[in-house]
C-alpha cells in the first residue's frame, strides 16, 4: 500500500443527479470525455467533407448522391459548384484545425489525465472547466449552423484572409452571414480555450501532490502545460481579431477593407482598411496553433514510447526544453506564411531565419526518440505502432518544411499542393496519429475496458500506408505547379495531373473507410471489451496507481505521495521491471536524473 497523505482540498461533492454526472459535469474526467466525443464527431464531419472534395477533384462531373439535399444552390443535381467546393474546403479546414486537432490531443486527453498525473483531485476551477467545454460545443454548433442558414458557409478558407472576410455578400455566397457565423464561432472557441488554459496552468503549478516536482511531471503533462501556455497567448490575440472582423460586417467599420474597392461591380462603402493587418493578427495566432496541435502529440507519443520501450528517454530534460523552445520560437516565425503577401522583403528574411532555427529543437526531439528506440525491445501494440507512425509522419512532413522556410523557394511553392501535403503530414496526420496512440493507450483507464488489439493493428496499417498514398503525391503535384484551392483542373498544364488526383481520391476513400474500423473498435470495446486491469501496460505514472476507471475524486479520498521520477523502467522491483511514481519502494536505478 502506498503512503497517502491526508486529503485537504475538496473541490466539489460527488455528483448525484444525471445532469451533473453526464451533462453539466464538473468532473474533469467527464469533461475530457465530452471533448473527446466532440472531437470524434467533428473529425467524422471533416472527413466526410474531404471525401466530397476528393471525389469532385478526381471526377469533376460526377454527381455525388444526396449532395443536393445539403445545398440546393451549391450542388444542383449533386455536382458541386466551384463556390461550394470552397465552402466545403473552408469548413473541412476549420473543423479539423480547431475542433479536432486542438480539442482532442490537448483539451480531451489533457482534461482527463493532467489532474491525475499531477495527483490532483480535479482542476482548481471546475465550473470554469465545465464552461470551457460548453462554450467550445456552442462554437461548434454555430459553425455547423452556417451550412443551413443564409447562403451557406463562408468560402474564404480556414485562414479567412482580408479583405474577402470583410466585404460581405459582394464577395460571394457565404461571405455575409457565413463569415459572421465563422467569426462568432471562432471567437467563442477562443474564449473556451482561454478558460481551459487557465485551469491547465493553475493545475500544473498549484495542485501537484507532495513529491511531484516540476521535473517529475511525465512528458505528457509537460506537453499539456506548455501547450496551455501557447494557447493562452495565441487565442487571446485571435479573439480581438475576430471581433474587429465582426464589427466590419455588422457595424460598418473599416478595419480590413481598403478604399474604393470594387467587387462584383459593387463599390464597397469602406475606406482605408489594412488587408495585411488581418494576416499579421491571424498568423500570430495561426503558427502557434500548429504547435498547439502537435506538442501534445509529442508529449503523448514520448510517454507511450517510454512505457513500451521499458526505459526512459535519453534525456527527459532536453525533451522538455525542446518542447519549450518550440513554444517560444513558434511566435517568432509566423511571417513565413506571408512571404508573398507584399510584406517588406527584409522581414521575410527576418522570419526565415527563426523558421530554420525552429527545426533544431524539432530535430533534437526526433533524434532523442530514434536513439532511445535504438536497441530497445519495443513492445509492439496499437499504441506503440501509432507512436512510431507519429514519428514517421512528423519527419516526412517536417522535411518539406526546410524548403518552404526559404523565401526564394517558397515563392514558387506557395499556394500549391506542396504546402497542403506538408501541413497535412506534419500537423494533421501526425497529430491524428498522436490522438490514436493516446486512445489505444489510455482507453482502458478512461472506460475500464480494453480495445481490440487486432482491429487496432489493422487500423494502423491501413492508416499508415493510406496516409503516405494520399499525401506524398501532394508534394509531386505541388512541384508540378498544381495550385491549391482550385475545384477543377481545366488548364493545360494541370490536365496531365488528373490521374494523380484520382489515385489520391481512391486512397482517401479507402483510408477514410479504415477509420470506421477505429470507430467500431471504440464503440464495441466501450460496451463489450475485455475488462481492463488497473495497470495493463505496467506503466509508472500516477494515473495507473488509481482504480480503473478512476473514482470521481481520482484517488478515492486520498492524495498519493510521489517518490520517483516519472519513468523508472529497467529497474528491479517487487512488481517487475518498473517502479511506480507513488511507490515508496527503494530501487537501485541508473536512470534517475540529477
Amino acid at each position: 500500500m502506498h503512503e497517502m497523505s491526508a486529503q485537504v482540498v475538496q473541490h466539489h461533492a460527488p455528483p448525484t443527479s444525471f445532469v451533473r454526472k453526464y451533462i453539466f459535469s464538473l468532473d474533469h474526467k467527464v469533461i475530457g470525455k465530452q471533448y473527446y466525443a466532440l472531437a470524434l464527431v467533428a473529425a467524422l464531419c471533416g472527413m466526410v467533407l474531404s471525401w466530397m472534395m476528393r471525389i469532385h477533384l478526381g471526377w469533376t462531373n460526377v454527381a455525388i448522391p444526396g449532395l443536393q439535399l445539403l445545398s440546393k444552390n451549391g450542388a444542383p443535381g449533386g455536382v458541386m459548384t466551384p463556390e461550394y467546393y470552397l465552402e466545403l474546403m473552408t469548413m473541412h479546414g476549420t473543423i479539423m484545425v480547431f475542433f479536432v486537432l486542438t480539442t482532442a490531443p490537448f483539451a480531451a486527453f489533457g482534461n482527463f489525465f493532467l489532474p491525475i498525473q499531477v495527483g490532483a483531485e480535479d482542476m482548481p476551477f471546475p465550473r470554469i472547466n465545465m464552461s470551457s467545454f460548453w462554450v467550445t460545443f456552442l462554437a461548434f454548433i454555430v459553425l455547423m449552423s452556417s451550412f443551413f442558414v443564409g447562403d451557406g458557409p463562408t468560402l474564404g478558407g480556414w485562414t479567412q484572409y482580408a479583405p474577402l472576410n470583410a466585404v460581405g455578400s459582394a464577395g460571394g455566397p457565404g461571405q455575409g452571414l457565413g463569415v459572421v457565423l465563422w467569426m462568432v464561432s471562432i471567437a467563442l472557441f477562443c474564449v473556451g480555450q482561454l478558460l481551459g488554459a487557465l485551469n491547465f496552468i493553475s493545475t500544473t503549478l498549484d495542485l501537484r501532490v507532495k513529491g511531484m516536482s516540476l521535473m517529475r511531471l511525465p512528458l505528457s503533462a509537460w506537453a499539456w502545460f506548455i501547450t496551455s501556455c501557447m494557447g493562452l497567448t495565441a487565442f487571446a490575440v485571435l479573439l480581438p481579431a475576430c471581433i474587429l472582423v465582426i464589427l466590419d460586417h455588422v457595424a460598418g467599420t473599416s478595419f480590413f477593407v481598403a478604399s474604393s474597392l470594387v467587387i462584383n461591380d459593387q463599390l464597397l462603402p469602406h475606406s482605408g482598411g489594412s488587408t495585411l493587418l488581418w494576416q499579421h493578427l491571424f498568423w500570430f495566432f495561426g503558427h502557434p496553433e500548429v504547435y498547439i496541435a502537435i506538442v501534445p502529440g509529442i508529449g503523448i507519443v514520448s510517454h507511450i514510447l517510454i512505457t513500451n520501450m521499458r526505459k526512459p528517454m535519453l534525456s527527459q530534460r532536453v525533451l522538455i526544453y525542446c518542447m519549450g523552445a518550440l513554444a517560444v520560437l513558434s511566435y517568432m516565425v509566423y511571417g513565413h506564411h506571408m512571404f508573398v503577401s507584399g510584406m517588406n522583403p527584409y522581414s521575410s528574411l527576418a522570419f526565415s531565419f527563426p523558421t530554420l532555427v525552429i527545426t533544431i529543437p524539432a530535430t533534437i526531439i526526433v533524434l532523442i526518440w530514434t536513439f532511445s528506440l535504438y536497441g530497445s525491445k519495443l513492445r509492439i501494440n496499437s499504441a506503440s505502432l501509432f507512436a512510431l507512425g507519429f514519428i514517421s509522419m512528423f519527419v516526412s512532413g517536417g522535411v518539406s518544411g526546410f524548403f518552404l522556410a526559404q523565401p526564394s523557394i517558397d515563392i514558387m511553392l506557395h499556394a500549391t499542393y506542396f504546402v497542403v501535403g506538408h501541413f497535412h503530414m506534419v500537423m494533421g496526420v501526425a497529430a491524428m496519429f498522436g490522438i490514436f496512440s493516446g486512445t489505444y493507450f489510455w482507453f482502458p483507464k478512461m472506460t475500464g475496458r480494453m480495445m481490440d488489439e487486432t482491429l487496432g493493428r489493422i487500423h494502423f496499417w491501413l492508416s499508415f500506408v493510406g496516409t503516405y498514398c494520399i499525401f506524398m503525391p501532394f508534394h509531386y503535384l505541388g512541384i508540378a505547379g498544381n495550385i491549391r484551392r482550385y475545384s477543377t483542373f481545366v488548364n493545360d498544364f494541370l490536365q496531365p495531373l488528373i490521374p494523380v488526383h484520382r489515385w489520391i481520391t481512391v486512397a482517401a476513400l479507402i483510408t477514410g473507410a479504415a477509420q470506421l474500423v477505429f470507430v467500431y473498435n471504440l464503440i464495441h470495446s466501450r460496451f463489450w471489451g475485455k475488462p481492463a486491469p488497473d495497470n495493463p501496460w505496467e506503466a509508472t505514472s500516477l494515473e495507473w496507481s488509481t482504480a480503473t476507471p478512476p473514482p470521481w475524486d481520482n484517488f478515492g479520498g486520498k492524495h498519493p505521495v510521489v517518490y520517483h521520477d516519472p519513468f523508472q523502467y529497467g529497474v528491479q522491483s517487487s512488481v517487475g521491471d518498473y517502479v511506480m511514481q507513488a511507490s515508496p519502494e527503494q530501487v537501485k536505478t541508473e536512470h534517475e536524473e540529477k
Binding site: 486529503q7 487557465l198 498549484d206 480581438p240 489594412s274 492524495h559
Partner: protein
C-alpha cells in the same frame, strides 16, 4: 448600505502558508532520489493566486493585439482623422484611481478583520461598497463620454480613429464590469463568512490592473487620436 457582519469569517486554515498539507509548492521543488520528503516544501499556493496572473496575461495580450492593430491601421491609411478626447475621461481616470486606493484600504481592513482583530474593525465591507460605487461611476462616466462623442456625430463607423476609441474603451469597460462582478462576489462571500484571503487578493489585483490598463489606454488614445 453596508451589511453588518456578525461573526468573523471562517478562515480556511489549510490555505495558510504555515500549515502542512498535501500540496507541493515551489517551482523547482526537487526531491532527492532516495525519497527523503522532508526537504520538500509543504506549501502550495492557492490556485487563484496563479490563475489571476494567467487571466491578466490573457487580457494584456488581447489589448496588445488591439494596440498593434491601431498602429498598423493608422500607419497604413490616409483617412485617419484626429479628434479631441472628451474631457470627462480625465475625471473618470481619477475615479478609477481613487477606487484602487479605497480597495486597498478595504483589503487591509478585511485582512485585519479576518486576522481576528474584530473589535478594531467595524463593518469591513464599507470600503468595498465605496469601491463598487466608484467603479459604477467610472462606467457611467465612460457612457457619458460615448454619448458626448455621438452627440458630436462621431460614431463607431465614422472614422477609424473613432472606431478604435469605441472598441478600446468598450472592451475595457466590459472588463471593468467583470471586476465589479468580482467585487460583488467578494462582498457576498464576506457577508456569508466564506471569503478566502486569496479571493480578495486576486480580485484586488484584477481591479488595480484595470486602473493601470486604463492609464495605458488613455495615453494611447491621447497620443494617437
Amino acid at each position: 448600505m453596508a451589511t453588518t457582519v456578525h461573526e468573523p469569517p471562517n478562515i480556511d486554515t489549510d490555505r495558510l502558508p504555515d500549515q502542512r498539507h498535501s500540496g507541493n509548492g515551489g517551482w523547482l521543488n526537487l526531491i532527492p532520489s532516495d525519497g527523503d520528503l522532508h526537504v520538500a516544501l509543504d506549501y502550495s499556493p492557492p490556485p487563484s493566486s496563479t490563475a489571476i496572473w494567467v487571466l491578466l496575461f490573457a487580457i494584456t495580450m488581447m489589448f496588445a493585439a488591439f494596440s498593434s492593430a491601431l498602429f498598423v491601421r493608422k500607419g497604413s491609411s490616409l483617412d485617419w482623422r484626429t479628434f479631441t478626447l472628451p474631457s470627462i475621461l480625465y475625471l473618470n481616470t481619477l475615479l478609477l484611481l481613487v477606487s484602487s486606493v479605497t480597495l486597498e484600504v478595504s483589503r487591509r481592513r478585511v485582512a485585519a478583520f479576518m486576522g481576528g482583530q474584530k473589535s478594531q474593525v467595524e463593518s469591513p465591507a464599507r470600503w468595498l461598497y465605496i469601491t463598487l460605487f466608484l467603479g459604477l461611476l467610472f462606467v457611467a462616466g465612460q457612457y457619458a463620454a460615448w454619448s458626448q462623442l455621438s452627440a458630436e456625430g462621431l460614431y463607431l463607423a465614422t472614422n477609424p480613429s473613432s472606431s478604435f476609441f469605441y472598441v478600446l474603451t468598450a472592451t475595457h469597460a466590459l472588463h471593468v464590469l467583470g471586476g465589479l462582478g468580482g467585487l460583488v462576489r467578494v462582498i457576498r462571500k464576506l457577508s456569508k463568512s466564506t471569503l478566502r484571503r486569496s479571493t480578495l487578493d486576486a480580485t484586488s489585483y484584477y481591479w488595480h490592473f484595470m486602473g493601470v490598463l486604463w492609464l495605458y489606454l488613455l495615453f494611447l488614445l491621447w497620443m494617437k487620436l
